[in-house]
């Protein structure tokens, strides 16, 4: 059984709605929102051990919005989100984590950030070695450590 089965249909709709509010699509940056089909499918299938906390967070959002979050008006949803975030509950972090960790591994999003859509290994990356003469002033100032008295036992 996948973690997906822990979400009801209403919870899935509410989570998707919330993901789109958190990170909406942008024409300016040519990126989808976190409620995009592929990204949201990744979010739901990746909930893992966070599923229980996500459900708790959605229940809190429902309480703040006066019903099923996805069924509220846009204005009510934004008010509920603001109240939810102002509570500074760890549940806010959970919703941000499950959304962001999938959103920023989508090819379209990575490319918009000028990232190659690939894992770091095995190709790695280039980093310039740098100009070590920058250390000359540090050398010129001399030692900064303290001598310590000889060990004579405690």
């Amino acid at each position: 059984m996948t973690e997906d089965h822990r979400l009801t249909a209403d919870e899935r709709r509410s989570l998707r709605c919330l993901a789109g509010i958190m990170i909406p699509a942008s024409q300016e940056y040519r990126v989808p929102g976190a409620d995009d089909d592929a990204i949201f499918a990744d979010i739901v299938s990746s909930l893992g051990t966070d599923a229980r906390l996500v459900v708790a967070a959605l229940q809190r959002l429902a309480a703040l919005s006066g019903g099923i979050f996805a069924e509220q008006s846009g204005a009510q949803q934004l008010l509920a989100c603001e109240a939810f975030r102002n509570e500074r509950s760890p549940l806010v972090t959970v919703l941000e984590r499950v959304t962001v960790q999938c959103y920023y591994r989508d090819d379209r999003v990575m490319q918009s950030l000028n990232m190659e859509p690939r894992p770091p290994y095995p190709r790695g990356f280039e980093v310039e070695s740098g100009d070590w003469s920058l250390l000359d002033p540090v050398r010129a100032r001399g030692r900064i450590y303290r001598d310590a008295p000889e060990n004579r036992g405690d």
Partner: protein, 532 residues
């Protein structure tokens, strides 16, 4: 039924690996019990597209969040700083950043120099040859000539400075403050079968390239070739003692959960500053009602972390971002005591490059710098690939009320009582953290940062676990003697961070391993009368 061994090491991390390797040349029969398993390089997060996500999950630094089969739960509700560790062959070196500073001569003499805490019964000169030996075994990159240290050799060239190191270095020069390439446990060239670093930028999720010096690829292969037996997925419950008060072995649960007994002539604990006191306290018996080796009452007391502050700046120009080892350079400008600063002792800055987009987003959202909604994209791009900063590693002074005890109800998967942490941040630490944030902000502004943000203390930064079985000559004020042997049990040794008398203001792995090699040499030199 297991075959009795001469030496039983508990824990296959930084120190267990080092002492196992060193003792192998005695040709004694040596076995090591490790509760975790070998980690395959192909399993490390940087091999997949979910490399950042997995660091929030199965490669998380916090064992309670990670919850792998090898992990044991820790009640950390009583501490503002949460525990970071890893259980497996290599221990904490699997997930450490590889920042590898030594302690300083003054760190061993804090009472004599600064009138605080206690002096160590050994000094820098005692450990210096072991630091050097360990640098060669681990393969440390660095640059000789650092004016913050007595002379020491570099094994390999330093990590690349990159745009980040150069930007911050120029700022430090403007301010007239010390900085230097960090000693780093990274192979910057091929070294002893390890491939060179290719700047994966994901050292703290485990190095798929094998460039980072975790002990599963440094000490252990050599120790195993020298016939040290490493038994994985074996969790020790307690150390047993005989009628003469000597350790007789350990009871453990094997990979199938079956209870086993391993008899040994010498037992060595290498389980870190929480795991070691946990086993000693779980080894209470009618002869040792307060726990084994605890006649001083100090087992589990004086827990020290290094309180951390993270200070980061956002710049207009692109820097290294997520490319390259996160560590880069360090500063010890504020390391030695200066009473005008309002606190005793000091700290190291560990300068660092940027993060991947997930970490950038979560950090920014957590601080309120990256909003929800349409402006999310613009705010993220203002920080992504354009951030740099530092961690301040503050010396934590020993206080007996900071403790590791046994939780009355929490148990691990084998039913063994779990540790409970109670820790309070001292006023000295708070002042030091405030100073570090103020000076760090000054550095970042001098480097051109348009925005500076910080987290202090870093809640998740309980990486360094020290002081809970301290070293000393006075058996009423310490748990082990000046060469790591328990005062109360003359064939029981401790070689992990538990034995630290004070913490210094540096990452402790180099010192932990140097101590393990030093204790090993003492055992070898005293074999004829080791138990006298």
């Amino acid at each position: 039924m297991t075959i009795p061994v001469d030496v039983l090491i508990i824990g296959a991390g930084a120190s267990g690996a080092a002492i196992g390797w060193s003792l192998a040349d005695t040709r004694m029969r040596i076995a090591c019990l490790e509760q975790g398993d070998w980690i395959k390089p192909s399993d490390y997060p940087s091999t997949g597209r979910d490399w950042e996500a997995r660091q929030l999950g199965d490669f998380n630094i916090n064992p309670n969040r990670r919850g792998n089969a090898a992990d044991y739960p820790i009640n950390e509700a009583g501490s503002p700083i949460k525990i970071a560790n890893f259980n497996g062959v290599g221990g904490g070196t699997i997930l450490y950043a590889g920042h590898f500073p030594r302690m300083h001569p003054s760190d061993f003499r804090v009472r004599a120099l600064d009138g605080v805490a206690d002096d160590w019964p050994i000094d820098y000169a005692t450990l210096e040859p072991y630091y050097a030996q360990n640098d060669r075994m681990m393969g440390i990159a660095g640059l000789a000539g650092d004016p913050a240290y007595p002379p020491k050799a570099a094994v390999m060239p330093p990590l690349p400075l990159g745009k980040t190191g150069a930007t911050l270095g120029r700022a430090m020069n403007t301010l007239g403050w010390h900085w230097w390439p960090s000693d780093s446990a990274m192979a910057t060239e091929e070294y002893e079968g390890r491939a060179r670093c290719i700047n994966l930028g994901h050292c703290t999720g485990g190095c798929a390239q094998g460039a980072k010096a975790s002990t599963d690829i440094t000490y252990w292969p050599q120790a195993i070739r020298a016939r040290v037996e490493l038994r994985t997925r074996c969790r020790v419950r307690e150390i047993t003692t005989n009628s003469e008060g000597m350790a007789s072995g350990a009871i453990y649960y094997d990979a199938d959960g079956a209870e086993q007994f391993q008899a040994a002539e010498i037992v060595i604990l290498a389980c870190n500053g929480i795991g070691t006191p946990r086993i000693l306290l779980n080894s209470a018996s009618p002869h040792h009602p307060d726990g084994l080796a605890n006649s001083s009452g100090l087992v589990g007391k004086n827990l020290m972390f290094h309180p951390y502050a993270a200070i980061r700046g956002a710049f207009d120009e692109p820097l290294d971002g997520y490319r390259g080892p996160h560590i880069c350079t360090w500063s010890q400008q504020f390391y030695e005591t200066d009473l005008s600063r309002g606190f005793l002792r000091g700290y190291t800055y560990q300068f660092s490059r940027g993060h991947g987009p997930v970490t950038t987003a979560l950090w920014g959202m957590g601080l309120g710098r990256i909003p929800w909604g349409a402006d999310h994209h613009r705010a993220l791009r203002r920080g992504f690939d354009r951030s740099a900063g530092m961690l301040a590693i503050c010396e934590d002074l020993p206080e007996e009320h900071n403790t590791v005890t046994l939780d009355p109800t929490l148990r691990d998967a084998n039913g063994i009582p779990a540790p409970k942490i109670d820790y309070t941040l001292s006023e000295n630490s708070r002042r030091m953290l405030d100073h570090a944030v103020a000076r760090g902000s000054e550095i970042l502004r001098a480097a051109g940062a348009r925005e500076v943000a910080f987290e202090s203390p870093m809640q998740g930064a309980g990486w360094h676990l020290m002081g809970t079985a301290r070293m000393g000559r006075d058996r009423s004020r310490s748990v082990v003697n000046e060469w790591g042997r328990c005062h109360d049990v003359k064939n029981l040794f401790i070689v992990d961070g538990s034995v630290f008398v004070t913490s210094g203001g540096v990452n402790p792995t180099a010192t932990i391993q140097a101590l393990a090699l030093y204790v090993a040499d003492n055992i070898k030199q005293r074999l004829a009368n080791l138990f006298d």
